[in-house]
Symmetry: C3
């Protein structure tokens, strides 16, 4: 637990005590998760002791003890135990001020570009100047942020058309931006801001909830976009990636401005974290892999991301050392780089206390 | 061998003694398989002792002994040794009554929806009422079945269009239904019958013979269909899945009505069964993974499915226990669930003796 | 090191001493590679001792010693240490005569069909007879070659349309053939030459540089082409394949005229070679997997391909033997087949000294 992590992509926590049904709803990417899963096993194994329970405590016992301690105490214990020295939080979805109080480190803001654009469209309507207003608002938001993020994978898939001129305002109907031309324009704008400001542009790729068509979230669908931006000064981070993490590692290998992390994947696959990390390390340059938890709603997810990442990466490198494939010194350097060094180089210093993001009510219990 | 399995998807056996060429033809998904493969190694390792030969017996010796004992005795030994307490058989392809006599357990019938529809089309022709007749026949078949199955992956790929109204009869030309609109309608009908009757609807996905375009059998292509049916009461089982088994596990994770098995995959990958099972368990909820062999033609396949599944899953869980990632009690519960518990909950009790399915001559030697 | 290999697909070496920047440029598939990668670790571990350095020597020290010895001595040491008894070289990209002098074995020529066609188009222009001239030139080149190769994956992706009649000359504009109809015609021609001459037709599939859209290099996209050629007498080899190596193994399993190798993959994934080989062996028939390094520019790549392949395959089979999944005799036979036996059967004997290919200036330093 000596190595400090930078959690380069996560969300806030729910400031309330969930019952079992609510807890399971937040455990899954579908309508509800389950304790009977790799994630559930990892949660009982690793989180229970932090709540003064034996490892592998039964779900009912875990939840009773959680309620007894209360969400505030539980979250504080889990977030502190993650050993994270800096948190970069997507404030476009489910950010609660309580997180800042409990997490024990500086918090930086990742601005979700679709949320900003939707707020502007809701405010200005389909006027001739709405694209200018979106650009102005995004540049304004970027000023206090440590990164930008696109969820185009959820809106139209990553196979959006080549970007360029603003689409007509017909691409803006509805409260949710889903038109591929609009997303293409918005992502192109974000890439320009990334190039000018140095802020990385994160993309959700791979595994997510049922709102996603997973095969249209394959990061390889960004190939043309990456080719177009390689010389622009923009920096791109591919988040989560599973089951396309090998594809993401390939993109980081061949494009000099591409980074990846495994985010959400690591807590969900539990005991299999080392296997996934080993697959990612086949092609990923060691200075281009970052850590993140994608923790959201339950501080258990923030903690498990950190716990399983440390353990999984340690295990891979122990095997490599035992096999004389790497020296101990090189393994230590690799761990330090992916834990925090790469992210420290990539992201600006976190702002001490971000404002709540646009369109960001605290996460409710579901 | 204490744990009884439910084999939730298999076919019949050939009631004849094959020569080497015929045996190899049935060993493969292409025109012929080979003893020089992961499957061939597993067959020699695990099946030979059941024929009173040493493990790893040479192919010629194995086939000579097989002929000496005769297909009936060999099949009885292999099927009984599988430790299967209930067999669910796709009677739409290669079902022979001998199987029922030899398999040592109750047999339930899985109705292949395309076979039923093709029989009706052949009988009624392109009349105005043919869609009604298909529906009537399918409902009739479902009455004595334990499940429905679609091979749309073979006919038009799993990217068939959103279902709804019956297509025109022009979608019915030929003896084999391949029109995507027709398949979409038929699958939609099957989903409604599943919702009404409680019978699961199985889909061939992933690995199969050369009649398939494998990349169009990715279960992710069913995403829109699964989204449309999640609240309908229908239940969907994704069969085989390799090399898209992680994708299938994701679908089971996020859609509450989706199950998966690894069918065909396990006997074919031989020694690698534990690796595949570990990959599937990354995201698959433990109450949504089932066992099946997809055994077809040769009872060796039914037996190897069971033998390698037991061994592979046991190995994964032994490692998890050794690593304190799961308790012994939880591991036992997991094994019992995927071996039979999940299928027992999912499928109705097997009928004691199914009729041969429509269009289902016994499997011939090839 | 007893087992001799046939390197069934590689390129030449640069006949010059690179500085660090030039060395790293040749280490990667993008604009530059990195010592901080699985490949870099393997290079320092395995190549350094051949340059009289301790294993894991630092990059600067490695490069200094390399410069001290000179590219000729270094290349000779590395190529000889690969234990390769025959080299099959793609002369369409970066072939240098020095390779023949240094490699210590007979060299056969793989003709890149796109290079031949482009040379003819450049010479003849858009005349009515240009397709006949391409055919004549390709048949002429094939006469002294041991194989043909297509890089259609780089030009238009492997989802080119069904082949047949020659396209119009409008498909030939530019110096680089990228029109899918043209590539389809050319690949169809190469398949006919393969059928008539017995020369295998290699396809680049999977992992490559940024000129590629990786998802359009999935070998499954060749399914229709493979179905159309299965009975023609043509033989097809899928090169590299990662991350689609399971897909390639499936194609070799179901199509009797399909072979695969892992080429480029093995040196790049370093310590993970055994994991990739194990995945390929799930479905690949043992008489259809070949060895190649895809070494290009740096003799380190030729050597690492061989070193890591031997080690990786040995490790997989040691585990299988320890687990009683294969006999020692069968494991020896498997190794001999994939090391050289399958390629010896597949490719004609190498010509002792090939001419430099068309459009093939020696590889320059970048």
């Amino acid at each position: 637990m000596d190595i400090e992590l930078i959690d380069a992509h996560c969300h806030g926590i729910v400031a309330a005590d969930p019952d079992r049904s609510q807890f399971e709803a937040m455990l899954g990417e579908g309508r509800r998760g389950s304790f009977g899963s790799a994630l559930g096993l990892a949660l009982r194994r690793w989180c229970a002791p932090l709540l003064d329970l034996p490892a592998h405590a039964e779900p009912e016992r875990y939840l009773a003890r959680r309620a007894e301690l209360g969400w505030r105490e539980v979250s504080a214990r889990l977030l502190r135990a993650a050993g994270v020295s800096r948190w970069l939080v997507d404030t476009g979805y489910g950010f609660a001020p309580a997180f800042v109080d409990l997490c024990g480190g500086p918090v930086g803001e990742i601005v979700r570009i679709e949320s900003v654009a939707e707020r502007v469209v809701a405010e200005y309507g389909l006027t001739a100047t709405v694209f200018d207003e979106i650009e102005r608002a995004l540049r304004e938001s970027a000023r206090s942020a440590v990164g930008l993020k696109s969820v185009a994978a959820y809106r139209c898939g990553l196979d959006f058309p080549g970007h360029g001129i603003p689409p007509s305002t017909s691409a803006l109907s509805g409260t949710r931006l889903t038109d591929p031309r609009m997303l293409s324009w918005l992502v192109g704008l974000a890439a320009r801001i990334s190039a000018e400001s140095g802020l990385p542009l994160q993309f959700h790729t791979g595994f997510g909830d049922t709102d996603l068509r997973l095969h249209r979230a394959d990061p390889l669908l960004l190939t043309d976009f990456l080719r177009a931006t390689e010389d622009s000064g923009a920096t791109v981070v591919l988040l989560h990636c599973w089951p396309y993490h090998r594809n993401a590692a390939y993109l980081a290998n061949v494009f000099s401005h591409v980074y990846l992390d495994l985010g959400l994947t690591i807590p969900h696959v539990g005991q299999r974290a080392s296997a996934i990390l080993a697959e990612a390390l086949e092609l990923a340059p060691f200075d281009r892999l970052c850590y993140s938890s994608d923790g959201c709603g339950l501080a258990e997810l923030h903690y498990l991301g950190a716990r399983l990442w440390r353990r999984g990466l340690g295990r891979v490198l122990d095997e490599w050392i035992a096999d004389d494939a790497i020296t101990t010194a090189d393994a230590d350097a690799l761990i330090a780089a992916v834990a925090a060094g790469n992210a420290a180089r990539l992201y600006p210093a976190a702002t001490p206390r971000p404002g709540a993001g646009p369109n960001s009510p605290p996460l409710p219990l579901r």
